[in-house]
Chain length 312, copies 2
Amino acid sequence: MRSNQFVLGIDVGATNIKFGLVDSSGKITATSHLVTRDFLSHKTKLINALLDECAILFKKNRFNINNLLGVGVGLPGLVDVTRGIVRFLPNIPGWKDVPLKKIMEEKLRIPIFLDNDVNLITLGEWKFGAGRGIPNMVCVALGTGVGSGLILDNKLYRGEGFTAGELGHVPLNEKGPKCNCGGWACLEQYVGNKPLQKKAAGLFKDNRIQLEEVDRLAEQGNPKALKFWHQIAEQIGCGLVSVVNLLNPRRIIIGGGVSNAYRHIFPVIRETIRKRAMSVPARMVEVVRAQLGNKAGLLGAYALVNDAACER
Amino acid sequence: MRSNQFVLGIDVGATNIKFGLVDSSGKITATSHLVTRDFLSHKTKLINALLDECAILFKKNRFNINNLLGVGVGLPGLVDVTRGIVRFLPNIPGWKDVPLKKIMEEKLRIPIFLDNDVNLITLGEWKFGAGRGIPNMVCVALGTGVGSGLILDNKLYRGEGFTAGELGHVPLNEKGPKCNCGGWACLEQYVGNKPLQKKAAGLFKDNRIQLEEVDRLAEQGNPKALKFWHQIAEQIGCGLVSVVNLLNPRRIIIGGGVSNAYRHIFPVIRETIRKRAMSVPARMVEVVRAQLGNKAGLLGAYALVNDAACER
């Protein structure tokens, strides 16, 4: 691989679609974005928008396509990485078994690689962020969904059917609230954004209160807000005890909206792991904040494409 | 590697120490054993017993040591596999940071490889038993302790500090009974042999009732016994939902004493996974019985030594 080669990262989210040209140092040299809802009427509309935006980005930046190693696309759902097929996107209707790699390669004549969005965030943090040089790590994304990506023995582990890392659906209790996955008592039903907002609304008797406001209240020492974050952190910690005991990672990296309340949740998460996980793996695991914010997926696209290019 | 080469497997348990000469087809051609409690007074006594028994086994079977690829030793505790050091054996006193590989190699002049006993069982089932050809699988050992070994992307995954796979210490609930690991509500506190025997004793008002008897009662349709196994299977299943959602394995292999009640527990374990785990990984995972019984560790020793020899 020559060092003047770039990767175009595309991070497809349920709200926005981000584009970024990434160089080998992890610098994003050009960006653009689309609003996802403008292209939801049919999957072809969204695919064409992706292709058009690639062409626009190259043209606007006078980008020489010979310097492009490939395109990495992160998608919010189940992706068959080997075949380059989008199996299912829970929040973008109409996407079922779409051979996106083939469709895009035929148009763009550039190698295209697809993966799940949380996997790309994980690769990004591993190669350029809070996980550099760490052979065994778990990258947790706290949001409406609670997901994770697993780097095990210096490799992204995807599982038999590309669904590994579903931390949000680790049961927290034998019995508990129903989950939209069909199960119940899943971690996401306790610490996902929706149950948290509902809980905050009840606690503060204010249906419109935002989690950022509860973070500010905790900052000011509000006891209700402090207790709110304490309990959430214990629950996240309990889920991570399973991860620590099963996978014995050296580092757990936590990002996503709720991680902005890190002052209130990280000490309790660490304490819960120390108290509940087995002593050897508990002692060696570090719990740290994600470093790359919303750039992680684009940088992960670089890692995905570059690794694939090195394997060829 | 020549096909006439053998591995000497040694399976150190808290009760017995098994020795077996294993050939490349997984056939055990000669065996012997020691009773562990005869050698507990000092670690040197146990080490010397291991060395003596190796020599006796070779002599008795007129074994040509040139046909030996190496010795694989499984130990019931924490093993630094890379350095060949036994870190800690919870049920064999006096073992702390013992450089067993070096000690045995100096005496025997044969390559020695150490690993945790459940890891060797996992390697055995993977290479010669219920997991042949499966790239992603979890091998569960149900007993006094509840452990597991992880084959991920066609490789035994040991974790950062060789403690991965501690399924018995996955929390089953936010709150629950204290565990001797220092945590609480660990799966082992619900489905390990000790809590099960206590539970059976209370249920049948008989302090000496054995789990085998509860299995027989369930066979005969005893409602209390059927309910006993049903609840245990739901709890094992709940622990395995975490494994299925985090690791998306193709197969889960279950062995150990409690798995003898497979007629009563396996259908409920499968049903619990089907109901509680995410649909894609739940649909693709098979839950099967271990095939190798108490030979698994010795056969795993073959796999360990052979893989190490191939890497050299």
